[in-house]
């Protein structure tokens, strides 16, 4: 069932992306409302699918009734796309950034497409070791953080394009559609300030859970190292902004690096990890 809803949501997200491109490239003002509506529909269908999957997950194993089905790549990627799209909708509406969809939606689309193409939608009960109160919110916090930082990555990308356009002294049509550098830089900073403390909290909760499950707080496992590197990159970015007045291009570039580290944590480290054989 979730494969069907996720596929439908993916198609709607794709249509929303095309409509947002129409606004950016053809400057069709009606496209703004269209892409937001399509994305809202995509999020709605995705949410219904996720609720149904959760119901199946709880029915399969009643002991898992306090957890969400994010213990497989399919479930995790689906949840990540859902959170990313939700944040995108919220930011586009609140900050009136009509081009945000062009930059964010490829990320959530990639997550949805990867879930559908490479991973089975089969529901698996939770591993015995995962049954801990700490583990109820640990993955949710981290996934939500990743979704927020995916938006920050997109905003940083928009910043770099805008910076390049204005620097070039030959600004193209994009320049007049993308918000000002300061708006993008501030939004980037705000998203990091929301996400980074949550990222630290998520890692801390995971660590506390590991003490109970594996008898140690920190084991320098591939996933643990990658998540620590991610945290360090984002913390450095915030620190440099706060302490040394870092703004603009360098902060945006560091944001890209931080998101690359998230991808490494999410995919590569998972495959290399000896103990994180489940998500």
């Amino acid at each position: 069932m979730e494969t069907m809803t996720l596929s439908l949501s993916c198609v709607l997200s794709c249509a929303a992306f095309l409509a947002s491109c129409l606004y950016l490239f053809k400057r069709t003002p009606q496209a703004i409302g269209v892409w937001k509506t399509l994305l809202a529909a995509s999020v709605g269908i995705h949410l219904i699918g996720f609720i149904l999957r959760t119901a199946d997950f709880w029915a399969l194993s009643p002991v898992d009734r306090f957890f969400l089905p994010v213990n497989t790549f399919f479930g995790a990627l689906s949840f990540l796309a859902l959170v990313t799209n939700l944040f995108c909708l919220k930011l586009a509406h609140k900050h009136n950034i009509s081009v945000l969809g062009v930059f964010v939606l490829p990320i959530s689309l990639a997550a949805q497409a990867a879930a559908l193409a490479f991973f089975a939608a089969t529901i698996q009960p939770l591993d015995e070791k995962m049954h801990s109160a700490l583990n109820i919110i640990h993955p949710l916090i981290l996934m939500s953080t990743y979704g927020t930082l995916a938006n920050a990555f997109a905003v940083a990308g928009a910043f770099l394009i805008q910076d390049w356009q204005i620097k070039s002294r030959r600004p193209g049509e994009f320049c007049w559609q993308i918000p000002s550098l300061e708006v993008l830089d501030r939004l980037n900073s705000r998203l990091m300030l929301i996400a980074v403390p949550l990222l630290a909290l998520g890692i801390l909760l995971g660590s506390l859970w590991a003490r109970g499950a594996w008898g140690r707080l920190w084991g320098w496992d591939a996933k643990e190292i990658a998540s620590l590197v991610t945290l360090l990159i984002y913390t450095s970015n915030i620190t440099m902004r706060w302490a040394f007045g870092w703004r603009g291009r360098w902060s945006a570039l560091m944001n890209l690096l931080g998101f690359a580290s998230i991808l490494l944590t999410f995919f590569v480290a998972d495959l290399a990890s000896k103990v994180h054989d489940y998500l």
Binding site: Q162, R169, W176, R247
Partner: protein
């Protein structure tokens, strides 16, 4: 929407009446513009009857009496046009009357006045309102000027069924061509482009400090829109404090001399430079230490020739350097885009004209009965 007495009702019958045209209800446009007439001729026309539009309309009314049922005059720096409704020969007679009033010497000058009637007049008016007949294609000011001319004529009750219909339709077409084509898109003056670029760098313009270095007219012209956009503060630098103070008094701001340049660069977000110097005044060596710890971008508009800002300054992070050529290139690119939209706008006008003409002729018949 302008509401006048005798506002026409919409006619739905789209067939052009087969009956003959009424004799006293033809739309005429007589006038000259920047393409056909010299500036002297436009000036002479604008000064007619005391240089007052109301006076001019009253004079035309008294001159042509019952032959002319409606009148409206559009007078701008680039055109002088009389819109009148009357018998078929009215346009020719208005033209003769105008030529008698202005000092026309050569045959070319006599040719400068054009006269259009009915369909040709409507086509011309729609083009004027759309900015296709303007010196700067797609400029928006003309639409306001047409509206204003109509309002003045309306207030004097000089417009009735025909002109009310025609002028309101022209305002509608003028708006439609601008919204459905990109005829008015992109700024085409360096001052507007400079302001647009600044709004793509800074979030709130009222937190921005602008510094104008040098007191040249071109620099002030480029900074005109920036200075009028309610920035947080304005600083004027000149070689002499007196000149800087004069500008500070004129535009409202603080005055400094060139010795204060480093301090002013640190304090400002936008720098407009126009100093007469042989070598660049703002170099990487000067700027680098000033940028240390700086949190906002520095937007430099170098209007001087020879340039005041060294080229390699553009490579510094957070510095956006534009010179006069860059701004002009953007204006030219926007102008090319506008020119590319002309065909679309013309097609739209033709479409509107073909829809409107049956109603127009029908209206003429309604009035003549």
């Amino acid at each position: 929407m302008i509401i006048c007495k005798d506002t026409p009702t919409t006619l739905t019958d789209s067939s052009i009446p087969a009956l003959g045209m009424p004799t006293g209800s033809h739309l005429h446009i007589v006038g000259t513009n920047h393409k056909t007439g010299s500036i002297q001729m436009r000036e002479a026309l604008a000064k007619l009857w005391g240089g007052n539009i109301k006076g001019a309309m009253q004079a035309m009314r008294s001159r042509f009496g019952g032959r002319q049922s409606e009148i409206c005059i559009l007078s701008t720096c680039n055109r002088y046009e009389i819109y009148a409704v009357g018998d078929p020969g009215l346009g020719r007679d208005i033209k003769t009357a105008l030529l008698a009033e202005v000092p026309v010497v050569t045959q070319d000058e006599a040719q400068a006045l054009y006269a259009y009637q009915d369909e040709d007049a409507l086509d011309h008016l729609f083009r004027v309102a759309s900015g296709l007949d303007s010196m700067v294609i797609g400029e928006t000011e003309i639409l306001g000027q047409v509206k204003n001319a109509y309002e003045v004529a309306c207030s004097l009750s000089y417009t009735k069924g025909i002109l009310n219909t025609v002028m309101q339709k022209s305002l509608y077409v003028g708006k439609k061509t601008r919204t459905q084509t990109e005829l008015s898109r992109g700024k085409i003056s360096v001052a507007s482009v400079a302001l647009d670029l600044a709004t793509k760098i800074y979030a709130d313009f009222n937190t921005v400090t602008i510094a104008v270095v040098g007191a040249g007219a071109m620099g002030l012209e480029t900074a005109r829109n920036l200075l009028h956009s309610k920035p947080k503060s304005k600083i004027f630098l000149s070689r002499t404090l007196e000149r800087a103070e004069a500008l500070a008094t004129e535009f409202g701001g603080t005055a400094k001399t060139l010795e204060d340049l480093p301090e002013v660069i640190t304090a400002s977000d936008i720098l407009v430079t126009q100093l007469a110097t042989e070598t660049p005044v703002i170099t990487q060596a000067l700027l680098k230490p000033l940028l240390h710890g700086r949190q906002r971008a520095l937007f430099i508009l170098d209007i001087a020739m020879p340039r005041n800002v060294a080229e390699d300054v553009a490579t510094l992070s957070g510095v956006y350097l534009y010179n006069l050529n860059d701004l002009k290139d953007i204006c030219d690119a926007n102008m090319r885009n506008r020119s590319g939209e002309v065909d679309k706008a013309v097609a739209l006008i033709r479409q509107e004209l073909s829809k409107f003409l049956p109603n127009y002729f029908r209206r003429l018949l309604t009035i003549s009965r």
